[in-house]
């Protein structure tokens, strides 16, 4: 900045020969440091970098290391190579938790996407009380997961479940549903609770995307005789794809690493039918005290997370290229 202001055209011709003589006196060190971009940037980045390096990057590495040790709570472990992973490889509960996690993530994400998109389309209609509906819809996402999960726990109670009662009153079923005691029911119940909490996030972010699509496109398509389905399929969906990809990446990542809901509702039971990798990691690592093994389970989640991130990253890039965008 400084050199640009001072580099007047008349001086520029002589610059090459007399740069040293013409140079202004060097300002004091403190002032130079204050204006040095590198030093300033370093100082500005320092707080965030310190926090993240110490409490995020280092633990990430420490976690990988712990996965190779037999550390327990209160006892630093020694390096045992791949023993934890070999043990997990033969552990049917671990594989069950991987299966559960995938089932939970895939089914909950698909449901969240479809219902969330539907809700977003409904909210995008020109309705009275639009902002009221939008505010109300987001509530499940704002309230602490654990506290809403406790409400679901009560709703799913084996004796006093309001859903069982209502269905019996309506004559649809004749005995109470054992929501959390039966493996299949328990899986369906936790997925339903997760979907309940996830719909608002998907709906509101997709709604923001929908609102950027110009009305004129719909009008043009309608004049060309497009049906409502065609409007959705050939106008809305292509223009919404980038934001769908990002929203669903976030949604998948958060669902895959979910812990709170399962911990409140089932703690992994009945007979490990709802154990996710995160809850198993907690059970073995913290409750059971086997830090090494718990860390190994957590590390085993990383490849799945990376795959999800890369999938959406490259998916997005292809989309940009198709639309003729650079970069």
């Amino acid at each position: 900045m400084r050199s640009m202001v001072e580099g007047a055209p008349t001086k520029e011709k002589r610059m090459a020969s007399t740069t040293v003589a013409e140079a202004p006196p060097r300002p004091p060190l403190a002032k130079r440091l204050q204006e040095s971009r590198g030093f300033l940037s370093f100082g500005f980045m320092l707080p965030a970098a310190l926090l993240l390096l110490v409490f995020l990057t280092y633990p990430l590495g420490l976690g990988v290391w712990l996965g190779f040790t037999d550390a327990r709570i209160g006892r630093p472990g020694i390096f045992i190579g791949l023993e934890n992973y070999e043990y997990l490889w033969d552990d049917s509960v671990f594989w069950l938790s991987v299966f559960n996690t995938l089932l939970y993530t895939v089914s909950a994400s698909i449901l969240k996407f479809m219902l969330g998109l539907w809700l977003a389309l409904l909210l995008n209609e020109n309705l009275p009380l639009k902002s009221f509906f939008r505010a109300v819809v987001l509530l499940p996402w704002v309230v602490p997961t654990v506290l809403s999960a406790i409400a679901f726990w009560w709703i799913y109670d084996s004796q006093f479940s309001i859903i069982s009662w209502a269905l019996i009153e309506m004559g649809i079923i004749d005995h109470r549903i054992n929501f959390l005691g039966d493996p299949t029911n328990a899986r369906a119940s936790v997925i339903a609770a997760n979907v309940w909490r996830g719909i608002p996030f998907v709906a509101i972010t997709l709604l923001a995307g929908l609102q950027t699509i110009p009305q004129s496109l719909y009008e043009a398509a309608t004049l060309d005789g497009a049906s409502r389905w065609q409007l959705f399929r050939y106008v809305t969906l292509p223009l919404l794809t980038p934001i769908i990809a990002i929203t669903m990446t976030f949604s998948v990542l958060f669902t895959f690493t979910d812990f709170q809901l399962i911990y409140v509702l089932t703690r992994g039971g009945p007979v490990n039918a709802t154990h996710l990798m995160a809850t198993l990691s907690f059970q073995r690592g913290i409750s059971g005290g086997l830090l090494g093994e718990g860390a190994a389970i957590a590390v085993a989640m990383i490849p799945f997370l990376l795959a999800a991130i890369l999938f959406s990253y490259f998916g997005l890039q292809r989309r940009k290229w198709q639309q003729g965008g650079g970069d």
Partner: protein, 297 residues
Amino acid sequence: MSAVETRNTATGDEGGMGYLQSVPRRIVTIWLPLLVFVFVLLFPFYWMAITAVKPNNEMTNFNDFSPFWVVEPTLQHIRYLLFETSYPGWLWNTVLISVASTFLSLLAAVFAAYAIERLRFSGSRQTGLAIFLAYLVPPSILFIPLSVMVFQLGLYDTPFALILTYPTFLVPFCTWLLMGYFRSIPYELEECALIDGASRWQILTKIILPLSVPGLISAGIFAFTLSWNEFIYALTFIQSSENKTVPVGVLTELVRSDVYEWGALMAGALIGSLPVVILYSFFVEHYVSSMTGAVKE
């Protein structure tokens, strides 16, 4: 006459093409599903609230009392919660920890976002990307190594364990959000100030920060909500009852193995949700913008 007509078409235009659908059709395809959605999304809150004020005999007797209503509302559960448990202490802990970690994260994020977005040091793009990736690292894979660290640093069972670890997910989020916000402030303002002899510090505090107050509010209340809702770190790093936060305290202290105090549990869940819901109701637009902003950028 023609002016009126054009104005009419213009206003009709803003309403989209809803007029192409008949009213009964709109009721079935839009209002009905929307009301079902709203009912399902809100029912757990209603159920929570009604249970919190229901006497125990009504709660377990569906034959004589309609479960959807309460005949004799009672405050006994709330009284029990506030005077016979450590609940007020948990509320205070949660407020303290959320405010402190939000403040710490915002401070770090403002500087980092400004450096990345405006100082444009070499490698700032990569730093921005790294911050974004840091946001994708879930607490579920960090809590075991962090618990080891917390223990070694002597922070176990203190509020500092949470105040220092919550920024791991707050700083990336706030930085990312503020980067987007700073980007929308014109460069020219800064250039003018530079020419007038302002230092970078003056530019940040006197020009950028006043202009980005809405962004700071968005990031701040969102970070506050995230730390209020956090569970896994609080469950792992805190042991003694008086140091717990609301979500952990309600789940681990109010649930006894023999009998569930559903009324007190629901009251605890309700009161624990109220602060964020109240905050949310005042700043709905900020919430939406921070949520969609974090995804869009």
